[in-house]
């Protein structure tokens, strides 16, 4: 089935740095990882504030377009709030414990005076929620998840949520079973490597986040001084005759610089930092999935040992052990597949991020000239 790409047209072979990010955008849409054609599109937009007696909150419009049979209609438009996203994520973790679930932006705003309803905050959150859904959409298993479908289509999500509560207790038990304190003998090398990698990765990102914040702080202080510097030239030009024009020129130029710098720092805060944080959250959730995998393996090994010790030949136990083995192998396979997918999308994300940052810096310096 031929699809019309939202951006339309073919990627142009342009070499100017300013268009490199947009080029990348187009490439991303073309460059499907598994070679499947896309048949599900989800977007998050149009934040709206709702004021009720008990609380005030924001909802976002979720638009879904799909040709999949799992969807009754070709198009859906629903409104969801953060709570609903949180619910969805928990549901996915429960129902797909062997897969890596993408992270959500932070639930609580810890830093004192951040306004939950400010345009900046809402926009940053909207982007993160959009990314969250898009990642699920891209995932060959998660995108077919029942809860995900309901999230995208149901008129009244709360009714469905209540229904699901009853099932929760049963599911919760089986999950608890899996994570019941078994000790792991030896972690297979590849998963150990992933664990180490994630540790270092999260550490480095944390450092980059701190450095970026410090840069922004320094840039803001620089900006303060610049804003005082420029007008002094204006004051001087008022005293002069022939020199008035060049002095006024320098003053205007410095004013220019100030504005460009302010835009640069805003972009850093809005685009760069959230991605770093997202990947740190991602690493954290991936590590907990790895732990679960370890548990599954541990359970399998323990059961195997128990059987070996008993030296009996009961059909029941081998079946039990077999189930464990299956579970473990499934887990391993799912995880590996997800890791690969994650690595590749991480690569793309960071490439886009760093090029975007570079672009912004170039734009800043061009403006300053």
């Amino acid at each position: 089935q031929d699809l019309i790409l939202p951006n339309g047209g073919t990627p142009a072979g342009t070499s100017s740095p300013a268009s490199s990010s947009s080029l990348l955008n187009r490439l991303q849409l073309d460059d499907d990882i598994d070679g499947e054609t896309r048949d599900l599109f989800v977007t998050v937009d149009d934040p709206k504030k709702h004021v009720c007696t008990m609380e005030t909150y924001i909802t976002y419009r979720i638009t879904t377009k799909s040709t999949r049979v799992e969807f009754d209609l070709p198009e859906y438009s629903v409104r969801r709030r953060y709570q609903d996203f949180d619910w969805l994520r928990n549901k996915l973790e429960e129902s797909q414990p062997t897969h890596l679930i993408p992270p959500l932006p932070e639930k609580f705003v810890v830093k004192g005076v951040v306004d939950r309803f400010s345009e900046e905050f809402v926009e940053t959150r909207r982007k993160a929620l959009d990314k969250f859904l898009k990642r699920i959409t891209d995932h060959p298993v998660l995108s077919f998840n029942e809860h995900f479908n309901v999230f995208l289509t149901a008129k009244d999500l709360n009714a469905y949520k209540k229904q699901g509560m009853a099932l929760l207790s049963r599911v919760g038990e089986s999950v608890k079973q899996v994570t019941g304190g078994y000790k792991l003998r030896s972690r297979p090398l590849e998963f150990a490597a992933i664990g180490d990698y994630l540790d270092t990765f999260a550490l480095k990102l944390g450092t980059i986040d701190r450095i970026a914040q410090r840069i922004i702080k320094e840039e803001i202080e620089y900006l303060v001084e610049l804003r005082e510097y420029g007008p002094v030239y204006s004051t001087w030009s008022a005293l002069e005759g022939e020199l008035a024009e060049p002095l006024e020129g320098v003053s205007a130029c410095i004013g220019h610089c100030s504005t460009a710098l302010e835009e640069l720092t805003d972009d850093m805060t809005e685009d760069f930092l959230p991605v770093l944080r997202e990947y740190i959250l991602y690493s954290d959730s991936m590590k907990s999935v790895l732990k679960k995998r370890d548990q599954v393996q541990a359970e399998y090994e323990a059961k195997l040992e128990a059987v070996a010790l008993r030296k009996e030949d009961r059909p029941k136990v081998p079946a039990d052990v077999e189930k464990c083995q299956d579970r473990m192998e499934c887990f391993n396979a799912d995880l590996k597949a997800d890791m690969e997918r994650w690595q590749s999308s991480k690569r793309q994300d960071f490439r886009q991020l760093l090029m975007g940052m570079a672009d912004k810096n170039i734009q800043y310096y061009e403006k300053v000239m």
Binding site: F201, I211, Y222, E228, Y233, L239, G241, F350, I362
Partner: protein, 402 residues
């Protein structure tokens, strides 16, 4: 180095070296100071070749002595300023130490600039003491002091803020003095803020350097992204270290502004001298007028003004006609003298105004030309800095490796 007409010869002056020295000062205590090598070359018209004619060493205090001499002997001239005595308007990386090599280097350039300014001034360049400064190493100090210029110096000029109530001030000079005050204030403010801006900019660049190590460490754990991250880290290091050169160039711009900050002071000094002259003139005229009146009173016998003499004569009896004649005679002599003095003072005053105004016009043109160039080259410097950074960030090769 530039050329100029100097007593009909074309010469080139340069302050080419600076050297740390130790010696004993006037109180026989050991001190460390810097000496500067001044080289003078005369240029042959025919082939443009220059020949070294004189070379000697001078220290900053001798430059100060020369300038103070010029200030006294050429009161109507806006005398070029010396580079600052102590480092001011410093930002954190810049040293306030007079012995710091960067400070010494900038001072060397400033001193050379001073000599070139004097040498290219139509009046100052002909001065004998200036010539000897360049050519006679030993004994120069004594020669200067022998001119007795310190005695000539009006101590009242030192009281910068003392006001002299001038009844008929020359409006042009009043405006000029006001302008020089404003100029000093605005340039000081500019230099102060610029120093803070430099400080902050330094901070921004240096923190970017922290990225270098992290990107490098991160690249170690990545497979495909490794190269790209490594390059990105390297680029950050280059960026961070580029700030040193940038700020050095900016320091040069700051020095150009400083010169005109101090020039503003020289301008103000000329206005003050005029003010004093005017004041003296008015005092002399006032004195003459009162003497004339006294004379008239004695002659006609009417006492219109109160005088102690008048009182005492009333109390202790009239003076004799002979006494009165004698007094009138003395007064008439004084009045004559006074009139002569007033005439010459007036002439002096008019000469001063004419010459001063000519030099002020010359100065104005020089200032406009110099500052325009300085502002333009400052702007060009900023643009080239942006270009360099923009290029560094834009290297597709860096990020496409990711």
């Amino acid at each position: 180095m530039t050329e100029n007409n100097f007593g009909l010869k074309k010469i080139e002056i340069s302050v080419s070296e600076a050297e740390k020295r130790t010696g004993r000062n006037a109180m026989n205590m050991q001190e460390t100071y810097t000496a500067y090598l001044i080289e003078t070359r005369s240029v042959e018209h025919t082939d443009g070749q220059s020949v070294l004619t004189d070379s000697l060493w001078r220290r900053y205090s001798e430059f100060e002595l020369l300038r103070n001499y010029l200030l006294v002997y050429y009161p109507h001239v806006v005398v070029p300023p010396l580079p600052e005595k102590r480092a001011e308007f410093v930002w954190h990386k810049l040293s306030a130490d007079n012995m710091d090599p960067d400070f010494v280097e900038r001072r060397r350039i400033g001193l050379e600039n001073f000599l070139l300014r004097v040498a290219s001034h139509p009046i100052l360049c002909r001065d004998k003491i200036f010539y000897l400064f360049l050519t006679q190493e030993g004994n120069w100090k004594e020669t200067v002091n022998e001119t007795g210029f310190q005695l000539k110096a009006d101590s009242r000029l030192k009281a910068l803020n003392a006001t002299f109530r001038v009844k008929n001030p020359d409006k042009r000079f009043t405006e000029l003095k006001h302008y020089s005050d404003e100029l000093q204030s605005v340039i000081s403010h500019l230099l102060r803020v610029r120093a803070r801006v430099a400080d902050r900019l330094y901070g921004v660049y240096k923190v970017h350097g922290n990225y270098g190590r992290v990107f490098s460490e991160w690249s170690a754990i990545e497979k495909e992204m490794g190269d790209g991250l490594q390059s990105a880290g390297h680029h950050m290091d280059v960026y961070a270290s580029s700030i040193d050169d940038i700020l050095e160039d900016e320091e040069h711009y700051a020095d150009q502004l400083k010169e005109y900050l101090f020039y503003a002071e020289a301008l103000r000094a000329v206005c003050r001298k005029h003010e004093l002259m005017q004041y003296d003139l008015e005092m002399a005229a006032q004195d003459l007028a009162s003497k004339k009146q006294q004379c008239e009173e004695l002659a006609t016998g009417t006492v219109r003004t109160f005088s102690l003499k008048g009182m005492t004569t009333k109390l202790f009896g009239q003076e004799t006609p002979e006494q009165r004649e004698a007094r009138i005679k003395v007064l008439e002599e004084q009045i004559n003298e006074g009139e002569q003095q007033l005439k010459s003072k007036n002439l002096e005053g008019r000469e001063f105004v004419k010459n001063a105004w000519a030099d002020i016009e010359r100065f104005k043109e020089q200032k406009n030309h110099d500052l325009k160039e300085a502002l333009i080259s400052y702007a060009v410097m900023q643009i080239s800095m942006c270009k360099k950074v923009g290029f560094g960030f834009g290297e597709d090769t860096v990020y496409s490796k990711l």
